[in-house]
Symmetry: C2
Subunit: 352 residues, 2 copies
Amino acid sequence: MSEGVRVAILGATGAVGAELLELLATRSFPVAELKLLASPQSAGKMLNFKGEPLTVEAVTSESFRDIDLVLASAGSAISKAWAQTAVESGAVTIDNSSAFRMDPKVPLVIPEINPQAIATHHGIVANPNCSTILMAMAAYPLHREQPIRRAIVATYQSASGAGARAMTELKTQARSILDGKAPPTEAFPFPLAFNVFPHNSDLSDNGYCQEELKMVYETRKIFGVPDLRMTATCVRVPVLRAHSEAVNLEFDAPFPASRARALLADAPGVTLLEDWQANRFPMPIDAAGQDDVFVGRIRQDLSHPCGLELWLSGDQIRKGAALNAVQIAELLLRERGLRPTAAATENLVRTE
Amino acid sequence: MSEGVRVAILGATGAVGAELLELLATRSFPVAELKLLASPQSAGKMLNFKGEPLTVEAVTSESFRDIDLVLASAGSAISKAWAQTAVESGAVTIDNSSAFRMDPKVPLVIPEINPQAIATHHGIVANPNCSTILMAMAAYPLHREQPIRRAIVATYQSASGAGARAMTELKTQARSILDGKAPPTEAFPFPLAFNVFPHNSDLSDNGYCQEELKMVYETRKIFGVPDLRMTATCVRVPVLRAHSEAVNLEFDAPFPASRARALLADAPGVTLLEDWQANRFPMPIDAAGQDDVFVGRIRQDLSHPCGLELWLSGDQIRKGAALNAVQIAELLLRERGLRPTAAATENLVRTE
């Protein structure tokens, strides 16, 4: 791999695609060749990589020939449609969609937490849900010290989780409302500007939406605790690109806030942001455009002797998506030279 | 009292003051005389009551002479400064500030929950904190059926909680950001538009802010459960005037969501808003300007066999403040003809 990696970005024109381009450049990922793939509607668009213009191509069955690494961020349906082709072409796919995350044959990886899981991959590595990554980054350093017994999460999720179009719509909505006009609702089912609403992903029979179930199931898989007791309420708030979360953690024994603070101050990828004098804790405007997850307001839970309350903000597009994917690619490159195992030729792709 | 009640509104020029004027008119409260009181800076302003212009007066020690009822909503310091004077003048004060809420001699009342508490008043009745009222309205109908063992709340609080000036500032901030300018931060310590931040009320030594502690302590007092296990994370979101809350409730035995739904559908002051087909649940834009607290997304807690998750939105200025105060006044009028007990002449006002 000394010549570098031949990379394809599937979904290059989206919000995460743009961030992937930026991160491959700024992190000096050894890119030998870069192919930008998207839907036929986006083909022909020009994007920049390290100052060089690149043309976006429509994805076809030939797109993955002579590609080593696919960074896929074009939604679940596109990933399901193309991942098998990419694997058969010999590329490793790091998939940002939910398509393969719960597939037992696909590792679901946050490099700071479960890098070892990557060893079992068969051509696809899944990037977890954004809210899940941010919460896990704050919870895992504590969980490693003392297993979490129960977690109760409430999210404050930005427009970026619904893509670039949603971010634009939030701004358009805000301006409409300020001007006394009805806000457009195309990307979102309801007005988000000056409003909040429960996350609009599909509802399950148990009343939880998919976003909430992702957090529960994916955390169990990432932490390797299949019966972790967890619940979440996911809510969209009128913020552009960073998510925040209120996290209540319960342990088997008291967990001193001071110890949690020390662990999080040392945790890679985490910035402890607590200025008690100034009443200053993580905010989306701190996290936007940053790599780290910002954690603070760590306090002993008034309602439970073994509980901790904490608060976090993290960039949904960066650590919540693109950065984690690039970190997985860096890990693959370091550990394995990016080659899938021999088993990669098996049909491993779930295509329900 | 057949001639009606002589009412003074202390803090008439604020956001809650405006709503009190509106509610006294629309609810046909028997107002015989109405005096609008505010700080000297606001004296001389003209406000309307039932189409009639009224001049705002600066509050003085003479202001409460021949007044039966004071509706105070000018903040804790003003309430502490004037409540004793009002009591000594023979008026009953319904105080919207936090000044007297935890005073054991002062009833803290939500008319749908603990109307009986009013019987013990000595001239002051306290109106609870806005987030507390909204949460309690949803939780109490369940608590009455089966005592709550533990409650974990995360709030999504609107700008209105910080007053009319903060609502204006949120709009100004949004416009500034849309125009690429730095947002002004006078009413708030940080930008609220396109951002969220933990509630900026004073922090206690245990790391909780006053807003969170109010919810815990006031709920215990209103429910009459001094050791209720409760925790809260209070967060400001860029919404104009309705608060939302994610509420996790734990009971001693399983509480069927269907039963909770039936109880809340019947609860006075509560509207059950759950359209599972349309993924449509309470939002601030539903609640703004409405009397009821909107509750929905009731689901069995995935993390606890005896847990329930629910979501609510309620108008912070209306049921969270002015409406509850007027309902207390209506209750006093109905039950007691508004007269305080003989004990009212004792010095009952805490003046720390």
